[in-house]
Symmetry: C2
Subunit: 259 residues, 2 copies
Amino acid sequence: MTTWIRFRDGDGRIGFGTLDPHSGRVVQHDGALFDRPRPTDISFAADDLTLLAPCEPSKIVALWNNYYALSQKLDKAPPQHPLFLIKPPMSVIGPSEAIRRPRSYHGKIAYEGELGIVIGKTVSGASVEEAEDAIFGYTCVNDVTAIELLQEDPNFAQWCRSKGFDTFTCLGPAIVRGFDWRSATLTTTVDGVERQNYPLDDMIFSPAEQVSLISHDMTLVPGDVIACGTSVGVGSIKDGARVDVSIAGIGTLSNVLAV
Amino acid sequence: MTTWIRFRDGDGRIGFGTLDPHSGRVVQHDGALFDRPRPTDISFAADDLTLLAPCEPSKIVALWNNYYALSQKLDKAPPQHPLFLIKPPMSVIGPSEAIRRPRSYHGKIAYEGELGIVIGKTVSGASVEEAEDAIFGYTCVNDVTAIELLQEDPNFAQWCRSKGFDTFTCLGPAIVRGFDWRSATLTTTVDGVERQNYPLDDMIFSPAEQVSLISHDMTLVPGDVIACGTSVGVGSIKDGARVDVSIAGIGTLSNVLAV
Protein backbone atom coordinates (compact mmCIF):
# COMPACT_ATOMS: atom_id res chain seq x y z
CA MET A 1 0.00 0.00 0.00
CA THR A 2 1.15 3.54 -0.75
CA THR A 3 -0.36 6.53 1.03
CA TRP A 4 -0.53 9.76 -0.95
CA ILE A 5 -1.30 13.14 0.58
CA ARG A 6 -1.59 16.73 -0.64
CA PHE A 7 -0.41 19.37 1.76
CA ARG A 8 0.53 22.95 2.47
CA ASP A 9 3.96 23.27 4.03
CA GLY A 10 5.11 25.75 6.65
CA ASP A 11 5.98 28.28 3.95
CA GLY A 12 2.49 28.09 2.46
CA ARG A 13 3.55 26.07 -0.58
CA ILE A 14 1.24 23.34 -1.84
CA GLY A 15 2.79 19.97 -2.58
CA PHE A 16 2.09 16.28 -2.62
CA GLY A 17 3.92 13.15 -1.65
CA THR A 18 3.96 9.79 0.04
CA LEU A 19 3.44 9.31 3.75
CA ASP A 20 5.09 6.50 5.67
CA PRO A 21 2.45 5.80 8.32
CA HIS A 22 5.02 4.25 10.68
CA SER A 23 7.66 6.97 10.68
CA GLY A 24 5.26 9.83 9.97
CA ARG A 25 7.66 11.09 7.29
CA VAL A 26 6.43 12.55 4.02
CA VAL A 27 8.55 12.43 0.86
CA GLN A 28 7.58 15.26 -1.45
CA HIS A 29 7.12 14.35 -5.11
CA ASP A 30 7.10 16.49 -8.21
CA GLY A 31 5.40 16.14 -11.54
CA ALA A 32 1.78 15.13 -11.36
CA LEU A 33 0.13 12.71 -8.95
CA PHE A 34 -1.59 10.80 -11.75
CA ASP A 35 1.28 10.90 -14.24
CA ARG A 36 4.53 9.32 -13.05
CA PRO A 37 5.21 11.40 -9.94
CA ARG A 38 8.91 11.51 -9.05
CA PRO A 39 10.28 11.54 -5.51
CA THR A 40 12.35 14.59 -4.56
CA ASP A 41 14.96 14.77 -1.83
CA ILE A 42 12.66 16.97 0.27
CA SER A 43 10.89 15.38 3.19
CA PHE A 44 8.79 16.59 6.09
CA ALA A 45 7.38 15.39 9.34
CA ALA A 46 3.66 14.92 8.65
CA ASP A 47 2.86 16.88 11.80
CA ASP A 48 4.45 19.98 10.27
CA LEU A 49 2.12 19.93 7.28
CA THR A 50 -1.47 21.03 6.78
CA LEU A 51 -3.34 18.29 4.95
CA LEU A 52 -5.41 19.36 1.94
CA ALA A 53 -8.01 17.38 0.04
CA PRO A 54 -5.85 14.67 -1.54
CA CYS A 55 -7.05 15.40 -5.08
CA GLU A 56 -8.90 18.09 -7.03
CA PRO A 57 -11.81 16.41 -8.80
CA SER A 58 -13.44 17.89 -11.89
CA LYS A 59 -16.61 16.29 -10.56
CA ILE A 60 -17.76 14.12 -7.69
CA VAL A 61 -20.20 11.35 -8.59
CA ALA A 62 -22.14 10.53 -5.42
CA LEU A 63 -24.17 7.34 -5.20
CA TRP A 64 -27.49 6.77 -3.47
CA ASN A 65 -28.73 3.36 -2.30
CA ASN A 66 -25.56 1.33 -2.79
CA TYR A 67 -25.54 -0.81 0.38
CA TYR A 68 -27.81 -3.78 0.98
CA ALA A 69 -28.35 -2.90 4.66
CA LEU A 70 -29.55 0.64 3.82
CA SER A 71 -31.60 -0.60 0.89
CA GLN A 72 -33.42 -2.98 3.23
CA LYS A 73 -33.88 -0.32 5.89
CA LEU A 74 -35.32 2.12 3.33
CA ASP A 75 -37.36 -0.75 1.80
CA LYS A 76 -36.08 0.24 -1.66
CA ALA A 77 -35.05 -2.43 -4.15
CA PRO A 78 -31.34 -2.57 -4.98
CA PRO A 79 -30.89 -0.53 -8.16
CA GLN A 80 -30.08 -2.03 -11.58
CA HIS A 81 -27.52 0.72 -12.28
CA PRO A 82 -25.70 3.09 -9.91
CA LEU A 83 -28.04 5.95 -8.94
CA PHE A 84 -26.06 9.14 -8.61
CA LEU A 85 -25.96 12.89 -8.46
CA ILE A 86 -23.05 15.18 -9.31
CA LYS A 87 -21.39 17.45 -6.75
CA PRO A 88 -19.39 20.45 -7.99
CA PRO A 89 -15.61 20.88 -7.58
CA MET A 90 -16.04 23.87 -5.25
CA SER A 91 -17.81 21.67 -2.70
CA VAL A 92 -14.52 19.93 -1.83
CA ILE A 93 -12.60 20.53 1.39
CA GLY A 94 -9.79 18.59 3.00
CA PRO A 95 -9.14 17.25 6.47
CA SER A 96 -9.03 19.93 9.16
CA GLU A 97 -11.06 22.38 7.09
CA ALA A 98 -14.47 23.33 8.47
CA ILE A 99 -17.84 22.46 7.00
CA ARG A 100 -19.67 25.78 6.74
CA ARG A 101 -23.41 26.10 7.28
CA PRO A 102 -24.93 27.98 4.33
CA ARG A 103 -25.98 31.44 5.54
CA SER A 104 -29.36 31.03 3.92
CA TYR A 105 -30.11 27.68 5.58
CA HIS A 106 -31.12 27.07 9.18
CA GLY A 107 -32.25 23.43 8.95
CA LYS A 108 -30.65 20.09 9.78
CA ILE A 109 -27.28 19.16 8.29
CA ALA A 110 -26.53 15.45 7.84
CA TYR A 111 -23.23 13.56 7.64
CA GLU A 112 -22.69 10.47 5.49
CA GLY A 113 -19.48 8.49 5.89
CA GLU A 114 -18.46 6.87 2.61
CA LEU A 115 -15.65 5.15 0.76
CA GLY A 116 -14.31 7.35 -2.06
CA ILE A 117 -12.83 5.98 -5.28
CA VAL A 118 -10.13 8.19 -6.84
CA ILE A 119 -9.81 7.84 -10.60
CA GLY A 120 -6.26 7.69 -11.97
CA LYS A 121 -6.80 7.40 -15.73
CA THR A 122 -9.18 8.87 -18.27
CA VAL A 123 -11.79 6.18 -18.72
CA SER A 124 -14.86 5.81 -20.90
CA GLY A 125 -16.97 2.75 -21.71
CA ALA A 126 -14.67 0.57 -19.61
CA SER A 127 -15.03 -3.13 -18.83
CA VAL A 128 -14.86 -4.08 -15.15
CA GLU A 129 -11.21 -5.11 -15.67
CA GLU A 130 -10.34 -1.81 -17.36
CA ALA A 131 -12.23 0.01 -14.60
CA GLU A 132 -10.21 -1.75 -11.91
CA ASP A 133 -7.05 -0.57 -13.64
CA ALA A 134 -8.37 3.03 -13.76
CA ILE A 135 -8.78 3.20 -9.97
CA PHE A 136 -5.81 5.07 -8.52
CA GLY A 137 -6.78 4.46 -4.91
CA TYR A 138 -9.27 5.09 -2.15
CA THR A 139 -10.06 7.83 0.33
CA CYS A 140 -12.69 8.67 2.96
CA VAL A 141 -15.63 10.93 2.14
CA ASN A 142 -18.08 12.82 4.30
CA ASP A 143 -20.95 13.56 1.91
CA VAL A 144 -22.69 16.43 3.73
CA THR A 145 -26.35 17.29 3.07
CA ALA A 146 -28.65 20.22 3.88
CA ILE A 147 -31.27 17.56 4.36
CA GLU A 148 -34.35 19.74 4.70
CA LEU A 149 -33.84 21.13 1.19
CA LEU A 150 -33.93 17.72 -0.44
CA GLN A 151 -37.72 17.38 -0.54
CA GLU A 152 -38.53 21.09 -0.12
CA ASP A 153 -40.16 21.22 -3.56
CA PRO A 154 -42.71 18.43 -4.05
CA ASN A 155 -41.99 18.20 -7.78
CA PHE A 156 -38.20 17.90 -7.82
CA ALA A 157 -35.83 16.22 -5.38
CA GLN A 158 -33.01 18.73 -4.90
CA TRP A 159 -30.07 16.33 -4.64
CA CYS A 160 -27.52 18.61 -6.30
CA ARG A 161 -28.56 21.66 -4.31
CA SER A 162 -28.77 20.01 -0.90
CA LYS A 163 -25.38 18.30 -1.33
CA GLY A 164 -23.61 20.84 -3.53
CA PHE A 165 -22.83 23.67 -1.12
CA ASP A 166 -19.24 24.81 -0.75
CA THR A 167 -17.49 22.64 1.90
CA PHE A 168 -20.08 19.82 1.63
CA THR A 169 -17.67 17.23 0.18
CA CYS A 170 -14.99 16.39 2.74
CA LEU A 171 -12.16 14.26 1.29
CA GLY A 172 -9.12 12.69 2.91
CA PRO A 173 -6.95 12.33 4.82
CA ALA A 174 -5.07 10.45 2.08
CA ILE A 175 -5.42 8.36 -1.05
CA VAL A 176 -4.28 4.80 -0.46
CA ARG A 177 -3.21 2.62 -3.37
CA GLY A 178 -3.45 -1.14 -3.06
CA PHE A 179 -6.12 -0.85 -0.38
CA ASP A 180 -8.30 -3.95 0.07
CA TRP A 181 -11.79 -2.50 0.53
CA ARG A 182 -13.35 -5.97 0.78
CA SER A 183 -12.03 -6.60 4.26
CA ALA A 184 -12.51 -3.07 5.62
CA THR A 185 -15.11 -1.43 7.83
CA LEU A 186 -16.12 2.22 7.85
CA THR A 187 -16.98 3.97 11.08
CA THR A 188 -18.38 7.45 11.57
CA THR A 189 -18.33 9.16 14.94
CA VAL A 190 -19.93 12.44 15.93
CA ASP A 191 -18.12 14.12 18.81
CA GLY A 192 -16.57 10.75 19.56
CA VAL A 193 -19.84 8.79 19.65
CA GLU A 194 -20.08 6.02 17.06
CA ARG A 195 -22.96 6.51 14.62
CA GLN A 196 -21.99 4.36 11.64
CA ASN A 197 -20.08 1.07 11.56
CA TYR A 198 -20.55 -0.94 8.40
CA PRO A 199 -18.56 -3.39 6.29
CA LEU A 200 -17.65 -2.10 2.83
CA ASP A 201 -18.29 -5.50 1.27
CA ASP A 202 -22.03 -4.94 1.79
CA MET A 203 -21.83 -2.69 -1.30
CA ILE A 204 -24.31 -3.40 -4.09
CA PHE A 205 -22.01 -2.23 -6.91
CA SER A 206 -18.34 -2.86 -6.18
CA PRO A 207 -15.87 -0.03 -6.91
CA ALA A 208 -14.80 -1.56 -10.24
CA GLU A 209 -18.43 -2.13 -11.22
CA GLN A 210 -19.23 1.49 -10.35
CA VAL A 211 -16.34 2.83 -12.41
CA SER A 212 -17.24 0.56 -15.33
CA LEU A 213 -20.96 1.42 -15.34
CA ILE A 214 -20.50 5.15 -14.69
CA SER A 215 -17.78 5.33 -17.36
CA HIS A 216 -20.50 4.30 -19.83
CA ASP A 217 -22.48 7.37 -18.67
CA MET A 218 -19.65 9.91 -18.77
CA THR A 219 -15.90 10.10 -19.22
CA LEU A 220 -14.09 10.01 -15.89
CA VAL A 221 -10.77 11.83 -15.63
CA PRO A 222 -7.82 11.61 -13.24
CA GLY A 223 -8.69 13.06 -9.85
CA ASP A 224 -12.42 12.50 -10.20
CA VAL A 225 -14.01 10.96 -7.13
CA ILE A 226 -16.87 8.50 -6.90
CA ALA A 227 -18.46 8.56 -3.45
CA CYS A 228 -19.70 4.99 -3.09
CA GLY A 229 -22.83 5.87 -1.09
CA THR A 230 -23.43 5.42 2.58
CA SER A 231 -25.09 2.73 4.70
CA VAL A 232 -27.18 2.83 7.85
CA GLY A 233 -26.58 5.27 10.70
CA VAL A 234 -26.87 8.62 8.93
CA GLY A 235 -27.99 11.47 11.14
CA SER A 236 -27.73 15.19 11.64
CA ILE A 237 -25.08 17.24 13.40
CA LYS A 238 -25.27 20.34 15.53
CA ASP A 239 -23.19 23.44 14.82
CA GLY A 240 -19.76 22.87 16.34
CA ALA A 241 -19.94 19.08 16.11
CA ARG A 242 -16.93 17.10 14.84
CA VAL A 243 -17.47 14.25 12.40
CA ASP A 244 -14.77 11.59 12.04
CA VAL A 245 -15.01 9.15 9.14
CA SER A 246 -12.50 6.32 9.59
CA ILE A 247 -11.46 3.40 7.43
CA ALA A 248 -8.62 1.25 8.79
CA GLY A 249 -5.79 1.40 6.27
CA ILE A 250 -6.81 4.82 4.96
CA GLY A 251 -7.11 6.89 8.12
CA THR A 252 -9.52 9.30 9.75
CA LEU A 253 -11.14 12.25 8.01
CA SER A 254 -12.10 14.78 10.65
CA ASN A 255 -14.18 17.92 10.02
CA VAL A 256 -16.06 20.30 12.28
CA LEU A 257 -19.34 21.99 11.35
CA ALA A 258 -18.31 25.58 11.98
CA VAL A 259 -20.45 27.55 14.39
CA MET B 1 -22.95 44.25 -27.85
CA THR B 2 -19.68 42.30 -28.18
CA THR B 3 -19.62 38.79 -29.61
CA TRP B 4 -16.93 36.47 -28.25
CA ILE B 5 -16.02 33.16 -29.82
CA ARG B 6 -13.53 30.36 -29.14
CA PHE B 7 -12.10 28.67 -32.18
CA ARG B 8 -9.56 26.35 -33.75
CA ASP B 9 -7.68 27.99 -36.61
CA GLY B 10 -6.47 26.35 -39.82
CA ASP B 11 -3.23 25.32 -38.11
CA GLY B 12 -5.10 23.57 -35.30
CA ARG B 13 -4.36 26.24 -32.71
CA ILE B 14 -7.06 27.13 -30.20
CA GLY B 15 -7.78 30.82 -29.69
CA PHE B 16 -10.50 33.26 -28.80
CA GLY B 17 -11.57 36.67 -29.96
CA THR B 18 -14.29 39.06 -30.99
CA LEU B 19 -16.46 38.56 -34.04
CA ASP B 20 -17.83 41.46 -36.04
CA PRO B 21 -21.15 39.99 -37.22
CA HIS B 22 -21.32 42.40 -40.17
CA SER B 23 -17.86 41.91 -41.66
CA GLY B 24 -17.46 38.32 -40.46
CA ARG B 25 -13.95 39.21 -39.23
CA VAL B 26 -12.56 37.81 -35.99
CA VAL B 27 -9.91 39.68 -34.00
CA GLN B 28 -7.88 37.23 -31.95
CA HIS B 29 -7.24 38.20 -28.32
CA ASP B 30 -4.68 37.00 -25.86
CA GLY B 31 -4.65 36.73 -22.10
CA ALA B 32 -7.81 35.26 -20.63
CA LEU B 33 -11.40 35.77 -21.75
CA PHE B 34 -12.57 36.64 -18.24
CA ASP B 35 -9.54 38.67 -17.20
CA ARG B 36 -8.80 41.71 -19.36
CA PRO B 37 -8.35 40.05 -22.76
CA ARG B 38 -6.16 42.09 -25.09
CA PRO B 39 -6.64 42.35 -28.85
CA THR B 40 -3.76 41.13 -31.00
CA ASP B 41 -2.99 42.18 -34.56
CA ILE B 42 -4.08 38.76 -35.83
CA SER B 43 -7.46 38.47 -37.51
CA PHE B 44 -9.34 35.80 -39.43
CA ALA B 45 -12.36 35.40 -41.62
CA ALA B 46 -14.87 33.60 -39.40
CA ASP B 47 -15.51 31.11 -42.20
CA ASP B 48 -11.90 29.90 -41.95
CA LEU B 49 -12.30 28.96 -38.26
CA THR B 50 -13.88 25.99 -36.52
CA LEU B 51 -16.06 27.25 -33.69
CA LEU B 52 -15.57 25.61 -30.29
CA ALA B 53 -17.76 25.83 -27.21
CA PRO B 54 -17.30 29.49 -26.27
CA CYS B 55 -16.21 28.72 -22.68
CA GLU B 56 -15.02 25.79 -20.58
CA PRO B 57 -17.30 25.58 -17.54
CA SER B 58 -16.22 23.90 -14.32
CA LYS B 59 -19.90 23.00 -13.97
CA ILE B 60 -23.19 23.57 -15.76
CA VAL B 61 -26.14 24.36 -13.53
CA ALA B 62 -29.26 23.34 -15.47
CA LEU B 63 -32.68 24.54 -14.35
CA TRP B 64 -35.98 22.70 -14.48
CA ASN B 65 -39.40 24.41 -14.51
CA ASN B 66 -38.29 28.01 -15.06
CA TYR B 67 -40.89 29.21 -17.60
CA TYR B 68 -44.48 30.04 -16.76
CA ALA B 69 -45.81 28.47 -19.98
CA LEU B 70 -44.12 25.13 -19.26
CA SER B 71 -45.07 25.28 -15.60
CA GLN B 72 -48.74 25.66 -16.61
CA LYS B 73 -48.49 22.91 -19.21
CA LEU B 74 -46.94 20.53 -16.66
CA ASP B 75 -49.43 21.72 -14.03
CA LYS B 76 -46.55 22.26 -11.60
CA ALA B 77 -46.45 25.33 -9.38
CA PRO B 78 -43.68 27.83 -10.14
CA PRO B 79 -40.83 26.99 -7.76
CA GLN B 80 -39.78 29.15 -4.82
CA HIS B 81 -36.09 28.70 -5.62
CA PRO B 82 -34.38 27.62 -8.85
CA LEU B 83 -34.62 23.82 -9.19
CA PHE B 84 -31.46 22.49 -10.78
CA LEU B 85 -29.16 19.63 -11.52
CA ILE B 86 -25.44 19.76 -12.31
CA LYS B 87 -23.98 18.62 -15.62
CA PRO B 88 -20.29 17.68 -15.76
CA PRO B 89 -17.63 19.60 -17.75
CA MET B 90 -17.05 16.67 -20.12
CA SER B 91 -20.66 16.92 -21.35
CA VAL B 92 -19.85 20.16 -23.21
CA ILE B 93 -19.51 20.37 -26.99
CA GLY B 94 -19.44 23.36 -29.31
CA PRO B 95 -21.24 24.29 -32.50
CA SER B 96 -20.63 21.87 -35.37
CA GLU B 97 -19.67 19.04 -33.05
CA ALA B 98 -21.97 16.01 -33.03
CA ILE B 99 -24.17 14.83 -30.21
CA ARG B 100 -23.27 11.18 -29.72
CA ARG B 101 -25.83 8.56 -28.72
CA PRO B 102 -24.51 6.61 -25.71
CA ARG B 103 -23.61 3.11 -26.89
CA SER B 104 -25.48 1.58 -24.00
CA TYR B 105 -28.71 3.49 -24.68
CA HIS B 106 -31.25 2.80 -27.41
CA GLY B 107 -34.15 4.97 -26.20
CA LYS B 108 -35.43 8.42 -27.09
CA ILE B 109 -33.11 11.43 -27.00
CA ALA B 110 -34.68 14.85 -26.35
CA TYR B 111 -33.51 18.36 -27.23
CA GLU B 112 -34.16 21.41 -25.05
CA GLY B 113 -33.36 24.86 -26.43
CA GLU B 114 -32.30 27.24 -23.65
CA LEU B 115 -30.70 30.56 -22.89
CA GLY B 116 -27.30 30.10 -21.24
CA ILE B 117 -25.80 32.54 -18.73
CA VAL B 118 -21.98 32.70 -18.78
CA ILE B 119 -20.42 33.73 -15.47
CA GLY B 120 -17.57 36.24 -15.67
CA LYS B 121 -16.56 36.70 -12.03
CA THR B 122 -16.23 34.47 -8.98
CA VAL B 123 -19.45 35.04 -7.12
CA SER B 124 -20.86 33.76 -3.83
CA GLY B 125 -23.83 34.98 -1.78
CA ALA B 126 -24.47 37.77 -4.28
CA SER B 127 -27.30 40.29 -4.28
CA VAL B 128 -29.27 40.60 -7.53
CA GLU B 129 -27.23 43.70 -8.39
CA GLU B 130 -23.92 41.92 -7.72
CA ALA B 131 -25.21 38.95 -9.70
CA GLU B 132 -26.04 41.14 -12.69
CA ASP B 133 -22.47 42.40 -12.59
CA ALA B 134 -21.10 38.83 -12.50
CA ILE B 135 -22.83 37.89 -15.76
CA PHE B 136 -20.27 38.02 -18.56
CA GLY B 137 -22.80 37.37 -21.32
CA TYR B 138 -25.22 34.94 -22.87
CA THR B 139 -25.10 31.95 -25.19
CA CYS B 140 -27.45 29.30 -26.61
CA VAL B 141 -27.73 25.87 -25.01
CA ASN B 142 -29.12 22.58 -26.22
CA ASP B 143 -29.62 20.60 -23.01
CA VAL B 144 -29.80 17.04 -24.35
CA THR B 145 -31.47 14.23 -22.40
CA ALA B 146 -31.58 10.43 -22.62
CA ILE B 147 -35.17 10.84 -21.58
CA GLU B 148 -36.07 7.20 -20.94
CA LEU B 149 -33.44 6.95 -18.21
CA LEU B 150 -34.91 9.80 -16.20
CA GLN B 151 -37.63 7.76 -14.51
CA GLU B 152 -36.09 4.32 -15.09
CA ASP B 153 -35.69 3.74 -11.35
CA PRO B 154 -38.93 4.42 -9.45
CA ASN B 155 -37.04 5.59 -6.35
CA PHE B 156 -34.64 8.15 -7.82
CA ALA B 157 -35.08 10.54 -10.75
CA GLN B 158 -31.83 10.24 -12.71
CA TRP B 159 -31.41 13.86 -13.78
CA CYS B 160 -27.62 13.90 -13.68
CA ARG B 161 -27.27 10.60 -15.50
CA SER B 162 -29.83 11.24 -18.24
CA LYS B 163 -28.40 14.71 -18.99
CA GLY B 164 -24.73 14.15 -18.10
CA PHE B 165 -23.48 12.05 -21.02
CA ASP B 166 -20.49 13.31 -23.00
CA THR B 167 -21.73 15.67 -25.78
CA PHE B 168 -25.10 16.32 -24.05
CA THR B 169 -24.45 20.03 -23.35
CA CYS B 170 -24.21 21.94 -26.63
CA LEU B 171 -22.99 25.54 -26.15
CA GLY B 172 -22.56 28.39 -28.61
CA PRO B 173 -22.09 29.69 -31.18
CA ALA B 174 -20.84 32.72 -29.22
CA ILE B 175 -21.06 34.59 -25.94
CA VAL B 176 -22.70 37.97 -26.41
CA ARG B 177 -22.12 40.76 -23.90
CA GLY B 178 -24.72 43.48 -23.50
CA PHE B 179 -27.45 41.22 -24.87
CA ASP B 180 -31.01 42.22 -23.91
CA TRP B 181 -32.68 38.91 -23.11
CA ARG B 182 -35.96 40.63 -22.18
CA SER B 183 -36.87 41.40 -25.77
CA ALA B 184 -35.59 38.15 -27.31
CA THR B 185 -37.25 34.96 -28.48
CA LEU B 186 -35.73 31.49 -28.63
CA THR B 187 -36.56 29.12 -31.45
CA THR B 188 -35.58 25.50 -31.84
CA THR B 189 -35.90 23.69 -35.15
CA VAL B 190 -35.36 20.01 -35.88
CA ASP B 191 -34.29 19.38 -39.47
CA GLY B 192 -35.61 22.83 -40.26
CA VAL B 193 -39.07 22.36 -38.71
CA GLU B 194 -39.85 24.75 -35.86
CA ARG B 195 -40.50 22.97 -32.56
CA GLN B 196 -39.93 25.68 -29.95
CA ASN B 197 -40.62 29.41 -30.16
CA TYR B 198 -40.88 31.16 -26.84
CA PRO B 199 -40.15 34.59 -25.39
CA LEU B 200 -37.33 34.67 -22.84
CA ASP B 201 -39.20 37.16 -20.66
CA ASP B 202 -41.61 34.36 -19.70
CA MET B 203 -38.83 33.20 -17.33
CA ILE B 204 -39.79 32.64 -13.69
CA PHE B 205 -36.37 33.56 -12.28
CA SER B 206 -34.55 36.18 -14.36
CA PRO B 207 -30.86 35.59 -15.13
CA ALA B 208 -29.70 37.93 -12.35
CA GLU B 209 -32.11 36.31 -9.88
CA GLN B 210 -30.80 32.88 -10.88
CA VAL B 211 -27.18 33.91 -10.41
CA SER B 212 -27.97 35.56 -7.08
CA LEU B 213 -29.95 32.62 -5.67
CA ILE B 214 -27.64 29.91 -7.00
CA SER B 215 -24.60 31.83 -5.73
CA HIS B 216 -26.05 31.33 -2.25
CA ASP B 217 -25.98 27.58 -2.94
CA MET B 218 -22.47 27.34 -4.40
CA THR B 219 -19.64 29.56 -5.56
CA LEU B 220 -19.84 30.23 -9.28
CA VAL B 221 -16.58 30.80 -11.14
CA PRO B 222 -15.69 32.41 -14.47
CA GLY B 223 -16.80 30.26 -17.39
CA ASP B 224 -19.51 28.46 -15.45
CA VAL B 225 -22.79 28.22 -17.33
CA ILE B 226 -26.33 28.36 -16.00
CA ALA B 227 -28.78 26.82 -18.46
CA CYS B 228 -31.96 28.79 -17.74
CA GLY B 229 -34.36 25.91 -18.38
CA THR B 230 -36.55 25.33 -21.39
CA SER B 231 -40.17 26.09 -22.19
CA VAL B 232 -42.84 24.26 -24.18
CA GLY B 233 -42.12 22.31 -27.36
CA VAL B 234 -39.54 19.79 -26.15
CA GLY B 235 -39.46 16.57 -28.12
CA SER B 236 -37.21 13.76 -29.24
CA ILE B 237 -34.89 13.51 -32.22
CA LYS B 238 -33.99 10.66 -34.51
CA ASP B 239 -30.41 9.63 -35.19
CA GLY B 240 -29.05 11.94 -37.86
CA ALA B 241 -31.39 14.83 -37.02
CA ARG B 242 -30.04 18.39 -36.83
CA VAL B 243 -31.14 20.64 -33.97
CA ASP B 244 -30.79 24.42 -34.37
CA VAL B 245 -31.26 26.59 -31.29
CA SER B 246 -31.48 30.27 -32.30
CA ILE B 247 -31.67 33.49 -30.35
CA ALA B 248 -31.63 36.69 -32.41
CA GLY B 249 -28.58 38.67 -31.31
CA ILE B 250 -26.64 35.59 -30.23
CA GLY B 251 -26.87 33.33 -33.27
CA THR B 252 -27.72 29.74 -34.10
CA LEU B 253 -26.28 26.71 -32.31
CA SER B 254 -26.46 23.76 -34.68
CA ASN B 255 -25.71 20.16 -33.74
CA VAL B 256 -26.46 16.81 -35.34
CA LEU B 257 -27.25 13.63 -33.43
CA ALA B 258 -24.62 11.37 -34.96
CA VAL B 259 -25.86 8.18 -36.55
